[in-house]
Symmetry: C2
Subunit: 122 residues, 2 copies
Amino acid sequence: MELLPIIKALSDETRLRILNLLKFGDLCVCEIEVLLDINQSNASRHLNKLTNAKLVEYYKVNKYVYYKIKEDILKEHPFVKEIIDSEIINLKVCESDLTKLKKYKQSGLSCDDLKEGKICLN
Amino acid sequence: MELLPIIKALSDETRLRILNLLKFGDLCVCEIEVLLDINQSNASRHLNKLTNAKLVEYYKVNKYVYYKIKEDILKEHPFVKEIIDSEIINLKVCESDLTKLKKYKQSGLSCDDLKEGKICLN
DNA sequence: TTATCATATGATTAAAAGCGAATATGTTCA
DNA sequence: TGAACATATTCGCTTTTAATCATATGATAA
């Protein structure tokens, strides 16, 4: 993959936030929506950009599409790994995103429950 | 320095080309203009962006302003060093930029000579 | 001091990127 | 099959970024 498209994919706060979450495990689109508090088309678009830059990939489970960080890219481009592992964490938003993520994971609930408001992440 | 402004400063081909040249030594604005074949205001603006992101700094010598890579940033943000040292080189444009740079340096001429067309870098 | 030169900065235009609302697609489940 | 749902895509709009031309600034040198 070309360098510039990768850097461009990384040059957006929402996309860094997505990578920050995916670092701790795969997530489907609707989980990302709720965790980042962004709307559906926005989530989908940003995920598309990350996919095009080959930073993430996806797989389908039932009606859900799960996204995950593409391991290849981390090997091919160590600077991406460096950013995801050591830099993103310093963004303030990412801290609170992780708080939400932790709360969600500890709840043991699924993304169906999320949408139904069975858990408040704030 | 904040992460996002740094990544944004890196997400432009011209600016990567500038960093690629500066890696081999400080250069004044008019040298960068000629080596990258871009106009003066363009060069100045991109250098300004790099300066704002604290990726480069400058000093004045006579009527010239020399730019150099800011060493601090490379220590603080290893991913920047990684990009400059190992990634930029793979950009095609940067190869030919370096050919020009080498030709210029080997000529022993100054930037005054450059403007007067005393050397052809193509 | 005045002319010259290197660089920076406005102002404008053009191109790219991002966003929300609505719609399309494709899957699941009753 | 048809209704419901998850995700992707399109449209129109706004914001951001880049490029160019012209002008301003600030230093140098005659």
